[in-house]
C-alpha cells in the first residue's frame, strides 16, 4: 500500500512542475514548447497509471477466474 501512495505523490509532483514549466514557457511566448512539455508529462503519467491499472486487472482476473 505504501508504494501506491508514493506513486500518487509522484504524479502530483510531475503535475505541479509541468504546470509551472507550461506557465513560464507560455509567458515568454514559446507556446509550442509549452505544449510539448505538457504532452510529454501527460504521456509519462498515462504510462504510469496504465501499468497500475494493468496490475488491478491482473488481480481481478486472479480473484474471479482462479488463475495465476
Amino acid at each position: 500500500m505504501g508504494l501506491e501512495v508514493d506513486i500518487i505523490f509522484k504524479i502530483a509532483g510531475v503535475g505541479i512542475v509541468v504546470a509551472f514549466l507550461h506557465t513560464i514557457l507560455d509567458q515568454v511566448g514559446k507556446k509550442e514548447y509549452a505544449q510539448w512539455v505538457t504532452l510529454f508529462g501527460f504521456i509519462y503519467i498515462l504510462f504510469m497509471v496504465a501499468s497500475i491499472v494493468d496490475d488491478l486487472f491482473q488481480k481481478i482476473k486472479s480473484v474471479f477466474l482462479f488463475e495465476g
Partner: protein, 171 residues
C-alpha cells in the same frame, strides 16, 4: 540518504546551468555596450587625438574591461611586434578572444568588416566607417537587450524546474 544527496546535486547542477545561460545573455548586452564605447573612444582618438593606431589600441586596452581589454592589447601587440597589415592583425586578435566573449556571429561579422576598413582611408571616411559600425552595433544591442529581458528569468526558472522534474522522474 545517498538518494537525497544525489537529488540535491542534480538540482544544484541544473540551477547552475540555468544561471550560466542567463549570465550569457546579460554578458552579451554588457559587452556590446563596452564595444560601442570602445569604438567611440577610437573615433575620438583618430579624429581629435591624431593618435597612431597601435597607440590608440593600447590606450583603449587601458580604459576597457576584460574581454575587450585583451582584444585591444593583442591588437596593439600584433601591430607593434609583427610584420603585418592592420586587417590581418585585427582579424587574428578578434579570432583569438572570440571564445571568451558572449557575443554572436553577427557581431563577429560586423567587427570583421570594420577591421577591413580600418587604416585604409582618410580620417573623415574612417569616421564614417566607425559611425556605420556603431549603427550596426546599436541594432545588435537592442536585439540583445530584448532577448535578455525576455529570456533571462525564463532560463533561471527552467533550470531549477527541470532539475526538480528530473528528480521526481528518477525517484
Amino acid at each position: 540518504m545517498i538518494k537525497i544527496i544525489g537529488a540535491i546535486l542534480i538540482v544544484f547542477a541544473t540551477t547552475w546551468t540555468g544561471f550560466e545561460m542567463a549570465k550569457q545573455l546579460t554578458e552579451r548586452s554588457r559587452q556590446l555596450r563596452d564595444l560601442k564605447t570602445a569604438l567611440q573612444s577610437l573615433e575620438a582618438e583618430i579624429m581629435y587625438g591624431h593618435t597612431p593606431l597601435h597607440e590608440a589600441a593600447r590606450k583603449l586596452a587601458d580604459q576597457l574591461s576584460d574581454p575587450l581589454q585583451s582584444f585591444f592589447a593583442t591588437f596593439a601587440k600584433k601591430l607593434i611586434e609583427t610584420e603585418t597589415i592592420v586587417r590581418d592583425a585585427w582579424e587574428e586578435s578578434l579570432k583569438e578572444i572570440w571564445g571568451k566573449t558572449a557575443l554572436k556571429k553577427n557581431e563577429f561579422e560586423i567587427m570583421k568588416q570594420f577591421g577591413e576598413t580600418l587604416g585604409r582611408h582618410d580620417r573623415v571616411s574612417q569616421q564614417k566607417q566607425i559611425l556605420l559600425t556603431l549603427t550596426h552595433l546599436e541594432r545588435e544591442e537592442r536585439d540583445a537587450r530584448d532577448k535578455q529581458q525576455k529570456y533571462e528569468k525564463m532560463m533561471k526558472s527552467i533550470g531549477f524546474l527541470s532539475g526538480l522534474l528530473l528528480i521526481i522522474l528518477l525517484m
